[in-house]
């Protein structure tokens, strides 16, 4: 303790910042404070958070607790100054700890290996001794081949007592921990670059619409530098249910008046152009547009000739080969018949689009019927011709998440480095082995010493295997 006191302040600060103790205190701090952040809704509605607190601590305490939590930044804690500060101390700790230790580790790695005196071999963590009934030279040759078989690239040297072998493997595995630690910094740097030089925004783009901006949370326009157009949007459902199986947008990128890219995107299949990535995130019906869309029908006559027509609400189409004309008189995005058989709309998403058509022959009303996009059996007309309902276009918007993150690659590189570093740190070890052969009367004494910085048991097994191979070779060859 005394020597601690005498050190200059700067040194003591350095030791503090380099210590593993500080690291585990920070681990604990980050873990515990993060818990609070998962209980309270982050950037949420104050009323909601008060409700959460009321559920946990009772109505009477909740408002006061909320004010405390808010004052301390717990309602937006991952962006708060103190959480950022915690992460900065964490990073500094990591850097200084590495700077502090790297030279020592580097020295161990660069240190050339040489023979050790036999007294020292006996003090190593792994030590073995045995005598074999063979001359030194024969033992040396047998050991040399046993070492080769065990894939230990040993150096052999003649010395005063007899002969020495030494070998090491995996010395660079000592850097695995540094790689792990360094990669954490890389990830943090990548994240900071992403926040600083990128953006997160959204864009609700109706079918047929073009935009050159996206919107961030506070309704700020973010110019994209190009135009994006939604050509089409479509949802596929699971069987007859209303559960979406896939939703997909067909997008076109237009730069300087030219179409430069066309791609369809779905969840998990984004589009990237000039560093800006568009993710399929949601969809919906553009408010007030329900009557304005374009019906796309395939009209198929009895003899099989087909033509595609685009119609608006109220438009008519003549079924080819007949004198029947069909007029669209009503539309429902989600049609169902109630228990009295009356049609009703049961959702405000296009889960079951249906057009009510009025068919008339030579101007005389004959009948009306619902044609449903998801029900091909409703496309069939009495006279054998068909009205295929393909799409109702221009009513839905596609909800796009728009992101630019120049740091994401740095984050990924960091992740890869971290994974490799962890595998090295945990599954590889630096092993050193010394073997000394000492001539005795009609026999040779084999003295073995070894060090492994990880997984000593496995190294021990390897050494024992080597020695029993040696013994077998000598005794079997006799």
């Amino acid at each position: 303790m005394d020597s601690e006191q005498k050190k200059p302040i700067a040194d003591r600060l350095w030791d503090f910042l380099a210590s593993v103790k500080l690291a585990i205190v920070i681990f604990a701090f980050i873990a515990v404070t993060s818990i609070i952040g998962t209980v309270l809704e982050q950037q949420g509605d104050p009323r909601e958070n008060i409700q959460i607190l009321a559920k946990l601590f009772g109505e009477s305490l909740a408002p006061a607790l909320y004010s405390v939590a808010e004052a301390l930044g717990f309602t937006d804690m991952y962006r708060s100054w103190w959480f950022t500060g915690l992460l900065i101390i964490f990073a500094v700790n990591l850097v200084i700890c590495s700077i502090d230790r790297l030279p020592r580790i580097w020295k161990i790695i660069r240190e050339p290996m040489g023979p050790l005196p036999k007294e020292q071999l006996r003090t190593l963590p792994l030590s073995r001794e045995m005598t074999v009934k063979a001359k030194l030279d024969a033992t040396k040759d047998a050991l040399s081949s046993a070492l080769k078989k065990a894939r230990l690239h040993a150096t052999g040297l003649k010395d005063a007592d007899g002969f020495s072998f030494f070998a090491q493997s995996g010395k660079y595995s000592r850097l695995g921990v540094f790689m792990t630690h360094f990669s954490i910094l890389v990830i943090m740097i990548g994240a900071v670059i992403g926040v600083r030089f990128g953006f997160k925004a959204f864009l609700n783009l109706p079918e047929g619409a073009i935009s050159n901006v996206a919107f961030s949370g506070n309704d700020r326009d973010i110019p994209l530098g190009f135009d994006i157009r939604c050509d089409n949007f479509r949802v596929d459902f699971w069987g007859a249910s209303d559960m979406p199986k896939e939703y997909r947008s067909w997008l076109t990128i237009i730069k300087d008046g030219k179409e430069v890219m066309r791609k369809s995107i779905a969840v998990n299949e984004p589009l990237t152009f000039e560093g800006v990535t568009f993710y399929q995130s949601s969809y919906g019906i553009v408010p007030g547009s329900l009557g304005q869309g374009m019906f796309i029908f395939n009209v198929v006559s009895k003899d099989g000739s087909r033509s595609t027509v685009n119609l608006k609400m109220g438009d008519s189409v003549r079924i080819p080969g007949t004198s029947v004309s069909a007029t669209i008189v009503d539309f429902s995005p989600a049609l169902r018949f109630d228990q009295h058989g009356h049609p009703m709309t049961y959702a405000n998403q296009m889960v079951n689009p249906a057009a009510l058509m009025e068919f008339s022959e030579n101007g005389a009303n004959s009948f009306r019927g619902w044609v449903l996009m998801r029900r091909p059996e409703t496309w069939q007309l009495r006279d054998g011709s068909r009205v295929e309902f393909l799409d109702y276009w221009g009513v839905e918007f596609t909800g796009l998440q728009v992101r630019k993150d120049p740091g994401v690659w740095i984050v990924y590189v960091g992740c890869i480095a971290m994974s490799i570093g962890l595998i090295i740190a945990f599954f590889m070890s630096h092993r050193r082995l010394w073997i000394k052969l000492v001539e005795e009367k009609n026999a040779t004494r084999v003295i073995v010493g070894g060090i492994a910085n990880k997984n000593r048991a496995a190294f021990e097994r390897k050494i024992d295997g080597l020695l029993s191979a040696l013994r077998k070779q000598i005794e079997g060859g006799k």
């Binding site: 681990f27 873990a31 992740c415």
Partner: protein, 360 residues
């Protein structure tokens, strides 16, 4: 033949194995131990068959092709997969360390999870996938997370065994820690059992998981039941605390050196940590990036994974500080597994009850 038959058989095998392992520990007869291992292995084989069958059933139903149909898409399937990893991991440990006694601690975790599926009424239906779940990243993410969770639960078992063996006095913090942990697990299980029996008749199982947890005990509308529940729980804790020494004597019979327990704890964390980092955090982030354009958004599930990660980092670094080996880090390994459980179940079952998103 359908998968549920095989699932049922493997559940029975595991529960039988649990009883055999406990009997083995109590009577120390090696034929019992051999039988326990044999039953566990056959349970694993049956369960593997069940998982493969369910995979095929799902592929046929969804028409998505093999790789998008891995049966890892909902709570039930992931719990089953967790048990599978756990048993496989345990058998590896049993084989490597030539000791059957941990079986008495690991198979109850498997039994507990399988019981939880029934008690909490986790839906066993094959459910259609929402679009965000159709991702290869998700598959490796979930698979690797559960392998890591299984490794962590082995470290939990050996960590708590270490504490049981190494504590002497009832006033020691470490003793109090393990008895309370042990007691809380028991209380949780009993409370869930009560919920199940009292509400099974009234509501559909799926709703039950979200809304009725602890409604028959700690959250019961009647104040009397509530108070009785808390009192009973408290008494149970006291009992475990008072009679914890019995467990110690049982484990002392195992002839496992405490250092071996410490080593298994470390080794399984050393295996679990890289897998969790890569599979849980990195692949999860890549998936989120692909699906939503954010690799990290501090949502409760992500944050809890990070908390878990920090706790295990705490464990690994704590071991380096002189004097922290042994008891202190064993406590951290137990806390780490509680964080795993919370990440996996608590976020969905408890936090979602608080937050609005839970109702979705």
């Amino acid at each position: 033949m359908d998968s549920s038959l095989f699932f049922g058989l493997s559940t029975m095998a595991y529960i039988l194995a649990m009883m055999l392992y406990i009997a083995y520990v109590a009577f120390r007869k090696s034929p019992i131990g051999l039988m326990a291992t044999a039953v566990t292995v056959s349970g694993l084989v049956l369960q593997t068959a069940a998982i493969v069958l369910r995979w095929k059933e799902f592929a046929d139903l969804s028409g998505l092709g093999f790789f998008h149909s891995a049966p890892l898409t909902n709570l039930y399937e992931s719990l089953i997969f967790f048990v599978w990893c756990l048993i496989l991991g345990y058998l590896v440990v049993e084989f490597k360390f030539k000791n059957r006694s941990f079986g008495a601690f690991v198979t109850p975790i498997a039994g507990l999870v399988l019981a939880f599926i029934d008690l909490a009424g986790v839906s066993k239906e094959i459910q259609p996938l929402v679009p965000a779940l159709k991702s290869n990243w998700l598959l490796v993410h979930v698979t690797m997370s559960f392998i890591a969770y299984a490794a962590f639960s082995i470290s939990f078992s050996t960590g708590i065994m270490y504490l049981i063996v190494k504590t002497e006095k009832r006033t020691e913090p470490a003793y109090i820690f393990w008895t309370v942990t042990f007691g809380l697990f028991a209380i949780l299980l009993i409370a869930m059992g009560l919920d199940f029996f009292s509400f099974k008749v009234k509501v559909r199982p799926e709703i039950f998981v979200h809304n009725y947890l602890f409604r028959s005990s700690f959250l019961h509308p009647s104040a009397t039941v509530k108070i009785v529940s808390y009192l009973t729980a408290f008494l149970l804790l006291i009992c475990v605390w008072r009679f914890g020494g019995v467990l110690k004597r049982v484990i002392a019979n195992f002839n496992i050196h405490a250092d071996v327990l410490d080593e298994i704890t470390y080794k399984s964390i050393a295996v679990g940590f890289p897998i969790f980092t890569l599979g849980g955090l990195v692949f999860g982030a890549i998936w989120a990036d692909q699906a939503w354009g954010r690799y990290w958004s501090w949502d409760p599930k992500e944050t809890w994974s990070l908390i878990t990660w920090f706790i295990y980092a705490f464990y690994l670094h704590g071991r380096m500080i002189r004097g922290w080996r042994g008891r202190k880090v064993a406590i951290v390994s137990v806390i780490g597994f509680m964080a795993v459980m919370f990440t996996y179940l608590g976020v969905n079952l408890l936090l979602s009850g608080l937050h609005a998103y839970g109702s979705k």
